[in-house]
Subunit: 187 residues, 2 copies
C-alpha cells in the first residue's frame, strides 16, 4: 500500500503521474509505456515516480484499481438483484472488457493473479472471490457444469482477453466468449 503523501506538491505530483500513466497506457499500452516516459510526461524526474510508486505494478494498480473494484461491486449487484438469466456471462464479459481496456493488461493481470500478492494481486483475489460466489449461484441454477471452478473461468476469460487485445475486429471478443460459454454449460 503506497502511503499517500501529505505535502501539497507531492499530492499534485502523484495526481499528475497517474494521469500521465493513464494517457500513455491508452496510447501505447501498459507494456510499451516506460517509467521514464511516464515521468517525463508528468514533468517530474524518474526518482519522483519511483518513490511514489515502488513498482510498475503499483502504478498499474492505481490506474485500473477503481475499475477492478467495480467488478466486485457489480458481482454483488448481480447477486442481490432479481437475477438476469445471463448474469454470469454479463459479469465475465465486463471482466474481459476491463482487461482489454489497455493493451498489456492481460499479462499484468495473469502474473498478479498467479503470485497473489502485491497491490494488483490483492485486488485479483477480491475479484476471484466475487467470481466464486457467482459461479456457485450459476451452478445452483444449473447454468454451468457442476465441476466448473472460478479460477479456471477467470483464467479462460483472461486468455480470451489476451487473444482479443491485439485483434482489430471487435466482434471477435463476443464470438470467443460465445464459444467459451458454450464449453462451460452443463453436460
Amino acid at each position: 500500500m503506497t502511503g499517500h503523501p501529505r505535502r501539497s506538491d507531492a499530492l499534485h505530483n502523484r495526481a499528475r503521474l497517474i494521469e500521465a500513466a493513464r494517457a500513455l497506457f491508452d496510447e501505447v499500452g501498459t507494456d510499451a509505456a516506460s517509467m521514464n516516459d511516464i515521468a517525463r510526461r508528468a514533468g517530474v524526474g524518474p526518482g519522483t515516480l519511483w518513490r511514489h510508486f515502488p513498482d510498475k505494478e503499483a502504478l498499474t494498480a492505481e490506474v485500473v484499481g477503481r475499475s477492478l473494484d467495480g467488478l466486485a461491486a457489480l458481482a454483488a449487484e448481480l447477486l442481490d438483484g432479481p437475477g438476469s438469466p445471463d448474469f454470469l456471462r454479463e459479469w465475465v464479459s465486463t471482466l474481459v472488457r476491463h482487461i482489454t481496456r489497455y493493451r498489456g493488461l492481460a499479462v499484468s493481470y495473469a502474473q498478479a493473479a498467479r503470485s497473489g500478492d502485491g497491490p494488483l494481486g490483492a485486488r485479483c483475489r477480491a475479484v476471484e472471490e466475487a467470481a466464486a460466489r457467482l459461479v456457485e449461484r450459476a451452478r445452483e441454477r444449473g447454468q454451468v457444469r457442476a465441476d466448473l471452478t472460478a479460477p479456471e473461468l477467470i483464467r479462460l476469460a483472461t486468455a480470451v482477453a489476451w487473444a482479443c487485445e491485439t485483434t482489430a475486429a471487435p466482434d471477435t471478443t463476443t464470438r470467443l466468449l460465445d464459444l467459451l460459454f458454450e464449453g462451460v454449460r452443463p453436460r
Copy 2:
C-alpha cells in the same frame, strides 16, 4: 529467408547460435533471453548474431521451425490415416504442447499469425491451412459446430497455451482444452 552462409566458420557460428538460443529459451523463455546473452553464450560478438538472424523472430523461427513444420505433417497424417475419432483434438493438443514448449512463444506466435509475414508468419499460415482442412473434415463428420472457423480455433488454442505457460499444474492444460472442446461441439 536467411540465406545460409558458405564459409565453414560461418556455418559453425550459425549452428552455435541456434544451439545457444535453444538453451536460453529453455532456461528463461524466448522473451527473457536477450540477443546479447545469446551471442555471449555462443561465444560470438553481437554483430555476428544480427547478421545471421536479422530479427529475433528469425532466430525464433529457426529454433521452433522444425516443430512447426511437424504440425503440418501431423495434420496430413491424421487426414490420410484411418481417422481417430478425436483427431482434431489430438492435433490441437499437439499445437498447444508445441506453443508451451518455451515460455513467451505464445506471444511471438500470436504476433506472427496476425501480421502473416516474416519467417514465423509464413509458417503460421501453413499451420492455419492445415487446421482449415482438419476443421472441415471434423465438420463433415459432425464433430464440431458448423460455424467454427480454423482461425478462431487456433486463436483459442493459442490463448489456452498462453494461459498455461506460466501455470505450474500440468493438468491445467488438459482441463482448459476439455472446456474449449466442449464449447466447440455441435449444438
